[in-house]
């Protein structure tokens, strides 16, 4: 749908002397789309970005923004703003003056400038910093000023040049676990004013230490477990539903007789027959929900415990499992996370 494209890049080539930095690139970016240019340094992504902002002119090809041919249009005539990698904040201007710069260039009336700058300062949570100069701000604050300065003129296209790559510490607050898992080096999971667990995304997901973390990050079957026997190295647990599994002793406090364990639904291996001598339990499939890539199987054990499993959806190579089938559910002891006392 070319009519919906805000950016149209047509056969764009950029040469610096004999070096071809961008080689015949064609692509469209739709309105509202968030496009990432990913690649190693020297791959041409920055050159393409600079052609969109107008700092470089294509050697061949054409660029259209919002239907207008901007191939040879000066940067200051384009409805495009950029967040620079170094932020490029004007050191002689205050935070508010930096943010107002684009609006002043557009000759927006002073009262409107004041209002819009105030709004965006609130948006990036820099209230109280508007009279500061860039050198009086932390790295993260400068980054927010750069973002505010680029969005306040309401550009058609916002270009972000490596906005997160500057060596810098980020504390990112979100309720969105997918965002947290993909963007973070470490995550601190908060609940009721306390840190439930802090660790790498994979650690948090695979080894939740509390029922809240297990339940909040991803999905989990939370099941009661009893200690059957204990050796210095291992504890043998009987998990609600019939699973008996041995876990390393350090994961089960020595004074516990019972506790709660978490089983990730995708870690349950569902099969019609037991596999080898792996730990497992039998259950009946009560329901089967198609979820695209995955099938969600609702299971009920003989003792009445309900849980669920996620399996890759049906293919000719995988045995068919349907509601009503009695299945064997294999669990590896590494995937049994102890999350709290009973």
């Amino acid at each position: 749908m070319p009519s919906a494209a805000v950016i149209e890049i047509r056969e764009v080539t950029k040469c610096f002397g004999s070096f071809t930095a961008v080689d015949g690139v064609s692509l469209d970016v739709a309105a509202g789309e968030f496009l990432t240019l990913l690649g190693p340094s020297g791959c041409g992504k920055t050159t393409l970005l600079r052609m969109l902002s107008g700092f470089e002119t294509p050697t061949r090809g054409a660029l259209r923004i919002d239907g207008e041919d901007v191939t040879h249009l000066a940067p200051y005539r384009r409805n495009v703003n950029q967040v620079f990698q170094s932020y490029a904040l004007f050191p002689h201007l205050t935070v508010a003056e930096n943010i107002a710069f684009g609006l002043r260039m557009q000759k927006v009336p002073a009262a409107e400038i004041e209002r819009r700058v105030g709004e965006v300062i609130d948006l990036v949570a820099l209230g109280g910093f508007s009279a500061r100069r860039p050198h009086e701000l932390s790295g993260g604050q400068r980054q927010r000023v750069a973002l505010a300065r680029a969005i306040v003129p309401r550009p058609k296209v916002l270009l972000l040049d490596e906005p997160l790559s500057a060596p810098m510490t980020f504390v990112f607050v979100t309720h969105d676990q997918e965002e947290a898992l993909t963007m973070s080096d470490r995550i601190a999971v908060f609940n009721r004013g306390r840190v439930e667990q802090i660790g790498s995304p994979s650690d948090i997901y695979h080894h939740p230490r509390t029922t809240f973390v297990a339940d909040f990050i991803g999905e989990a079957n939370l099941l009661r477990a009893e200690a059957l026997s204990r050796t210095p190295a291992a504890v043998r647990l009987r998990v609600e539903g019939g699973l008996e599994v041995e876990i390393p002793a350090e994961r089960w406090p020595s004074d516990w007789t019972s506790g709660v364990v978490s089983l990730r639904p995708e870690k349950i291996l569902v099969s019609k027959r037991p596999i080898g001598d792996a730990a497992g339990f039998t259950a009946r499939v009560t329901d089967e929900l198609f979820q695209g890539a995955l099938d969600r199987l609702h299971l009920q054990t003989e003792s009445g415990t309900r849980l669920f499993a996620l399996v890759a959806n049906e293919s000719a190579l995988r045995e068919a499992i349907h509601a009503g089938d009695t299945v064997w559910c294999g669990v590896h002891s590494d995937d049994v996370a102890v999350v709290g006392p009973a």
């Binding site: 703003n81 620079f84 170094s86």
Partner: protein, 294 residues
């Protein structure tokens, strides 16, 4: 900082480092005392003395020299000197800024070579370069020869010994002192800031006035100081290229010492002249500081 040094025990090497610093500063201090403080003190003493008919200084206290400084004749000359220096400074900024900016924006090997071109004149004596200008500007000089040969003019122009010649000479002499500090500022200016200005809708003129000028202002200010102040007192160029047609304050002072043989009055002029700078500079400095910390 102060609180820290008050309470924290001085590091063991601190005292020795202080002694070391004074030792290292001693040659500079000695140089300043010998070549700045002593001569000015000498001038100050002279300025309150009288002279005999042969021009010898008589150590007899008088205010008379200072009273003469404020004679309208000298005030007019001083005003004219300030005017010439101001014109020189303005031309130096107008010519020097684009040159400095252009050089600063070049890539590395070319940039250093261009900078070298700016500095080459310093390798030749200042007087020789001024005589070269005389050879260019005089009635039978290079420029008139060229203009007549090419038919632009029929009769030679009288260029030398005019105010224009003085301004040409002053601009030529002081231009590098304008280019170098501006270059220093321009070279440090992050090009991303200029791009950011363009990105936010500033055309070339707005980007220049709103971002480039403010950020290179320290260089411009240093250049102005380096050109304006010495240009007021310059006498050699005005003598050689102005032919005593347009005496400036520097010429007057020089003449008092060497022709009129009135060292006490020359000294008084020099002292007043120096004080004027100190006061102006102090006022400008105080204003800058108060505007920097609102």
């Amino acid at each position: 900082m102060h609180a820290l040094s008050d309470t924290a025990p001085a590091p063991a090497g601190g005292r020795r480092a202080g002694v070391m610093a004074w030792l290292l500063l001693a040659p500079l201090g000695l140089w300043l005392v010998l070549f700045v403080v002593v001569p000015i003190a000498g001038l100050a003493v002279y300025s309150f003395c009288q002279r005999d008919d042969l021009g010898r200084v008589i150590y007899d206290f008088t205010w008379e020299n200072y009273a003469r400084v404020f004679d309208p004749i000298y005030l007019r000359i001083l005003g004219r000197s300030v005017g010439y220096a101001a014109v020189t400074t303005v031309i130096c900024v107008a010519v020097g800024y684009p040159v400095a900016w252009f050089i600063a924006r070049q890539r590395s090997p070319l940039r250093e070579r261009l900078l070298l071109l700016v500095m080459i004149p310093f390798w030749t004596s200042f007087l020789i370069r001024t005589y070269a200008w005389i050879a260019i500007l005089k009635t039978e000089g290079l420029l008139n020869g060229l203009l007549q040969f090419s038919g632009v003019v029929t009769a030679p122009l009288s260029l030398l010994y005019t105010p224009t010649a003085v301004i040409i000479g002053l601009v030529y002499a002081y231009l590098p002192f304008m280019i170098l500090p501006i270059y220093g500022s321009a070279e440090k200016l992050d090009n991303a800031l200029v791009e950011a200005a363009h990105d936010l809708g500033a055309g070339p003129i707005r980007a220049f006035s709103e971002v480039i000028i403010p950020l290179t202002w320290p260089g411009i200010a240093a250049g102005i100081l380096l050109v304006f102040v010495p240009a007021i007192g310059m006498f050699a160029i005005t003598d050689l290229m102005g032919g005593a047609q347009v005496p400036l304050i520097g010429n007057v002072i020089q003449n008092q010492f060497f022709r009129a043989r009135n060292a006490p009055f020359g000294a008084a002029l020099g002292i007043v002249f120096t004080l004027m700078f100190i006061v102006t500079y102090a006022l400008a400095h105080r204003r800058r500081r108060s505007s920097a910390s609102p």
